[in-house]
Structures are given as C-alpha cells and as structure tokens.
C-alpha cells in the first residue's frame, strides 16, 4: 500500500483517538502527556498545520522563500472577524449577520479575496529570487500587519474596523443550524478535518505533473523554462494556493480564539511559520504537522518544566532555551527532524541503512 495513504490513515486514527479520549475520559487528553500538551494545543497544531502545508509547497517544493506568510493567515482571520463581529458597524442586516451560514460563507469568500490579493502582489514579487524575494515578502507581511493595527489608515472615529492594537473581540463560534461547533472537542474535529484534507490536497499536487514542474523550478528556473514549464504561472499559482490555505487557517483561528489582534500575525509569527516548516523538513508535506507539533510542544514543554531545572526561572528563560534549541536543530538537522533522525540512524548503524 502507498506510504502516504498509510500516513493519512494513521494520522486520522490518531486524531479520532485524541478526540475520543478527550471526550470520554474524565482526566482528558492532556493527562496522557503529563499535562504538557493540552487539548487546546492540539487544535492550534491543526490550524497551523494548514498554513505550514501551504508554506511547504511554496518554499520546500518550489523553492520560493516567504517571510510574510502570517499576513495571509491574518487576512483570513481579520476577514472573518470583521464581517462577523463588526457586521453591525458595516450595516450588514441582522438577519444575514446572525444566520448560521454567514460565517461559513465568509471562509471561502476570505480565501478567494486573499487569493486574489496574493495573485496581484505575487505576479510582480515572484520575479525576484533568493534573498530579494525573502525580503519583499517580509516587507509585505509587515505592511499588512501595520494596516491591521492602523485600521487600514481609516480614522477610527469614522469607521472602526480592526480595533487597532486591541484587535477584535467577540467573534461568534461556528454552528450548523442549531448545532454549535463548540465546546472545543467539537471544533477539534473540524480543524483536523480541514488539516487532513489540506495534506491530501498537497500530496496529490506533489505527486502530479504540477508537483514535478514545481520541483523543476526549485532545481533551476532556467532549466524548468527550457523544458517547457511556464515558471511565472506555476510560481504564482502555488503562491496563491499557499495564501488561500493561510486564509482558511486564519478563519478557523478567528472562530477558535473568538478574538484577533495584530501580534498573532506579525513578522515574528511569519518567522515562526518558516521555522516550523524548516523543523519538520520542507521537502515533505508530512514535515508540516511534525514541524508545527515539534515547535509548539518544545514551547509547552519549556513552559511546564523550565522552572524545575532552574530555581525561579520565568518566561524569559524559556525564550533563551527556545532560541538555543532552534540554533542546535538548524545546525545538526537543517533538513528537518525526520531526515535528521534518519541520517542519525544511518550514522550510528550503517548496516541498517542498506536494508
């Protein structure tokens, strides 16, 4: 059987088990990990997996760096947040804004709008290469977040859309008819359903003609062009796709957190997404869930255990330890932990590698 199919089945089973355990067992999922990985963290891993899968397609397969991916994540989140929590200010009739299908409609609408935005900026920006592209996307990400913080440059007295640095509170939960997708155990399945679907989509793209074209672009723009790949179109398409995945995750985040504010989507967040992608291994779709989980678990672990290692250690010690782990991982496993682990095994047991 296909290895990817096994992976999907295993991941689905793991998710079903996690959800089942949280619902049925009184002590909850976090007790399995000694209270380190909370159920909330599992939902977050699912949401960010969607973003990082898109980032892997863009950076790992196509070789186009993006240091501004959190902007697309933020566009989705703010689109959903503004058109639900700020519907009254915008003059959207109550019958529509309070209808259960309204937020569901906004998710694809946000994806379409973010995709359009990514298309418009992607066409010119993706002509750049290497460091230049990285810097341009970095700038783009920062510009978008400042627009959120500054209410898109509109005076807050005229029309307050984004709530400035405070963000937007009071975003409603998603529901189907009268069935609310909350408490978090219900939302968990929605998030991971979307995450698994995006993994399947990415795997299909990677193992198709398009995927081979993307990898050809990664190896060499010129060579890809010579063998008949329209590099500009493929780069733009994958950029738009990754942006739309970011937007989807953003909408899911908005309805999960029930509030959005600029720091979640700023430059540091973009960097973290790249770090997650790099930790998991960018040249594999499966790297995405691993990378996201690894980063969040390291952070939770430091939060839960750091004060036992050092007497009176506070949050700042976690940050330092996090930075050190990041550096060490990048030095010793630059292709992600999965490949790093594999090469470690081959180094320790050369015989095992041959079999």
């Amino acid at each position: 059987m296909n290895r990817n199919l096994i992976g999907i089945i295993l991941l689905t089973l793991f998710i079903l088990f996690t959800g089942w355990y949280e619902i049925t067992q009184p002590e909850g999922f976090s007790s399995l990990t000694g209270g380190i990985v909370t159920f909330d963290a599992m939902v977050r891993i699912g949401i960010l997996t969607i973003v990082v899968v898109g980032l892997n397609l863009l950076m790992g397969y196509t070789g186009q760096a993006s240091l501004g991916q959190a902007a697309f994540y933020g566009l989705g989140a703010y689109f959903s947040a503004i058109l639900t929590a700020r519907a009254g200010v915008l003059g959207i009739p109550e019958t529509i804004a309070k209808a259960w299908w309204w937020p569901w409609l906004l998710i694809p609408a946000g994806m379409a709008l973010t995709g359009l935005f990514a298309y418009l900026v992607g066409r010119p920006i993706l002509r750049l290469k290497g460091h230049y592209l990285a810097m341009a996307t970095l700038g783009l990400g920062i510009v978008v977040v400042i627009l959120f913080r500054e209410n898109f440059g509109i005076s807050a007295n005229v029309l307050s859309l984004t709530g400035g640095s405070d963000g937007i509170p009071g975003i409603p939960r998603l529901r189907i008819g009268d069935y609310e997708l909350w408490p978090v155990t219900r939302y968990f399945f929605l998030v991971w359903g979307a995450a698994i679907l995006s993994i399947i989509l990415a795997l299909n793209i990677v193992n198709s003609r398009v995927g081979r074209a993307l990898r050809a672009i990664h190896s060499s723009d010129l060579a890809a062009e010579v063998i008949g790949v329209d590099t500009a179109i493929f780069k733009t398409r994958v950029f738009v796709l990754s942006a739309m995945m970011g937007s989807l995750a953003g909408s899911l985040y908005a309805h999960f957190q029930a509030a959005v504010s600029p720091p979640t989507f700023d430059f540091v967040a973009s960097l973290e997404l790249v770090i997650m992608a790099a930790m998991g291994g960018m040249t594999s779709v499966w790297g995405a869930p691993f990378g996201v989980a690894l980063l969040l678990i390291i952070r939770e672990l430091l939060r839960a255990r750091m004060h036992r290692l050092f007497e009176g250690a506070g949050g700042e010690f976690e940050v330092v330890a996090f930075g050190l782990i990041l550096i060490l991982l990048m030095i010793f496993a630059p292709d992600g932990v999965i490949k790093g682990f594999r090469s470690l095994i081959t180094r320790v047991r050369p015989a095992a590698a041959k079999s």
Partner: protein
C-alpha cells in the same frame, strides 16, 4: 514621427510618478498648513533616524558581502551596545568624572559587543557556512532570540538611561537645543552625525589603506579569487562579524540618549537596517549609507504629512518598490538582478 523606445517610456513613467508623489506630499502637507520650517524639521529628524539605519545597514552589508549571510542578529548588536553602556555608566566605576565614565562604558560596551559578534560567528555561523541561506537566516534569528532573552533576564523589561552627551559639557541636565531658522536640532543629533562621520572615515581608511582592509575588499568582490590569492575566508568572515558588531554597538550608544534603550529595541532597528541596505543595493557600503539616510528622510516626511502610526508602512513599501523596480539598488547603474 519617431517611436519612443520602451526604456525611454519607462523613464518618463518613473519621472512622472516621482513628480506625482512629491505633489501628493505637498498637497497633504498643505492640508496641515505645513511651511518650510515644518518640512525642514521633518527632514532633520529623518536624517537623525536615517543615520542610525545607515550604521546598521553598514554592518549588514559588511557581513553579507563576505559571507553571504543575512544577519538578523544585527539589531541585537545595537541593543547590546546601548544596554551595556547604560548599565556600566550607572555603576559609576570611575566616580571622579561622569564624562570619562561614559567614554569608558562606551568603549567596554563596544568591545563586549564585538566579542559577542566574534563568538557568534565562531560558534554557529562558521561551522555551517555551507548550509542553505534559509538555514543560516534561521540560525541568526535564533541568535537574536537568545541575546534578547538574555538581555531580558539580565536587565528586565524596563528602559535604561544614557544621558545626552551634551550634558557633560554644560550645567544643565537636559540636552542642548539649537534653533537655526526655527528648526529644532538637539545636540545629540550632532553627536550622532559626528560619530557616524568618524566611523565612516575610519572604515574608509581601514578598507582602502590597510592590508587587512584590502584583503577584506578582495574577499567581498570575489571570494574564490581572493582565496586563491592566499586570503583566508575564515579570517575575513570573523573580521566581518567583528566590524558589524562594533558598528552596531556604536549605533546603539549614540542612539541611546534619544530613545531610552530597552531589551527589545533591536528587532525594529534591524529590520529598518535591512530596508536601508536593500535600498542601497545590498552589496555596497557607501550606497547602504545613502540608502539609510534616504529611508530616514522619506519615511519621516511621509509619516509627517499623514499619520505617525503609518511610519513603518512607508519604510516597507519603499522596500517592496525598490526590490521590484531597482533590485540592484537605487544608485547602481549596472543590471545585476540575477545575483542570488
């Protein structure tokens, strides 16, 4: 009728759009009743910020030229320079003269920051110098996180204080202010410009008049050829980080009296330094300095006529525009867009 060539056409378009932008600035300024004095003030303040960007950009370009690394930890050097100076100054270990005390603190801070740069290069950059650019970027981000975290542990989140340099020459505890033509110029701005000028002269002398500096330049122009001439890339990489750290620290020290230094001041300054370096084309040190000054003035004037909260947006819009239309930098004539 002669057909207009596409190059000519693009030149006309860019000239027209530049004129339009200038008209827009004056129109917006006019709505706020800005006179020459206000514009002068905005330009002077912008030049002060721009000088700091220029120093940071200088460090970035120095490292990028020789090692190909984009150093996200450059802002941390700036922060260290300011914070260590403020910390040592407050200890008053030379009690007889506060002025001398500050000089000693500044020198020690520069030495310390340089040492940090050198240790960083030896520990985490040189061993993996052949890694992919992205891996190297993430490593420098990691270094930034560690340094900032250690600063937070050591100094806490409060702001430290460096007194304005002019206070050591006058009785007043506040910075001396000059008012030519009604424009307010703080003495600290003059100190920033003077210090930067000295740094530039010293660097110019070093790069062009000493054997090490010439080896460094050779290494920046063509690493392989320099290596074949017997110039050790190992030493040059170390030198690049040492220079960048020292220049960064100096930027932090002279900036200190203007904005009270905090542990997290580095990130934004580092990013602005990038923009300045890219406006200058990322490879040339003099162009980076001019890029920094231009960036400072343009963002300050643009923010002045619109809204101060939008200041950073202008910097990064400039970044994107420069990358799109002049990725080789605004001063370089030759096309070099393919350099990766």
């Amino acid at each position: 009728m002669k057909p207009i060539s596409s190059v000519r056409f693009r030149q006309i378009i860019s000239a027209l759009s530049a004129l339009l932008l200038i008209a827009l600035i004056f129109w917006l300024g006019g709505r706020k009743n800005f006179g020459l004095q206000q514009y002068g003030q905005l330009v002077i303040d912008g030049l002060r910020g721009g000088t700091i960007y220029a120093l940071i950009a200088l460090g970035l370009v120095t490292i990028y030229n020789v090692t190909g690394v984009i150093n996200f930890a450059q802002g941390a050097f700036v922060m260290l320079g300011a914070m260590v100076t403020a910390d040592l100054f407050a200890r008053e270990f030379l009690p007889f003269s506060p002025g001398l005390n500050l000089v000693a603190a500044a020198i020690l801070a520069i030495l310390f920051t340089t040492a940090v740069g050198v240790v960083m290069e030896r520990l985490v950059i040189y061993p993996v110098r052949d890694a992919s650019p992205l891996t190297l970027i993430i490593i420098t981000v990691g270094v930034y996180i560690v340094i900032q975290g250690l600063a937070l542990i050591h100094w806490g989140s409060g702001a430290l204080k460096i007194p304005a340099f002019a206070t050591f020459f006058s009785e007043s505890t506040r910075d001396t202010v000059y008012r030519p033509f009604g424009i307010i110029i703080k003495a600290q701005s003059l100190w920033i410009w003077a210090t930067t000028a000295v740094v530039l002269i010293v660097l110019y002398w070093f790069f062009n008049r000493t054997i090490y500096g010439k080896a460094f330049q050779a290494s920046a122009i063509n690493r392989t050829a320099a290596r074949l001439m017997g110039i050790s890339p190992n030493k040059m990489s170390l030198l690049a980080f040492a220079i960048a750290a020292a220049v960064g620290a100096i930027a932090g020290i002279v900036l200190g009296p203007v904005t009270s230094p905090t542990y997290d001041m580095g990130l934004k300054l580092g990013l602005k330094g990038f923009v300045a370096a890219i406006v200058g084309g990322l490879v040339s040190a003099p162009a980076a300095v001019i890029g920094g000054l231009l960036l400072g003035v343009v963002e300050n004037v643009a923010a002045g006529v619109t809204k101060s909260g939008l200041k950073d947006i202008f910097a990064f819009i400039i970044l994107i525009l420069v990358l799109l239309y002049r990725p080789q930098g605004i001063l370089t004539k030759t096309k070099e867009t393919e350099k990766v």
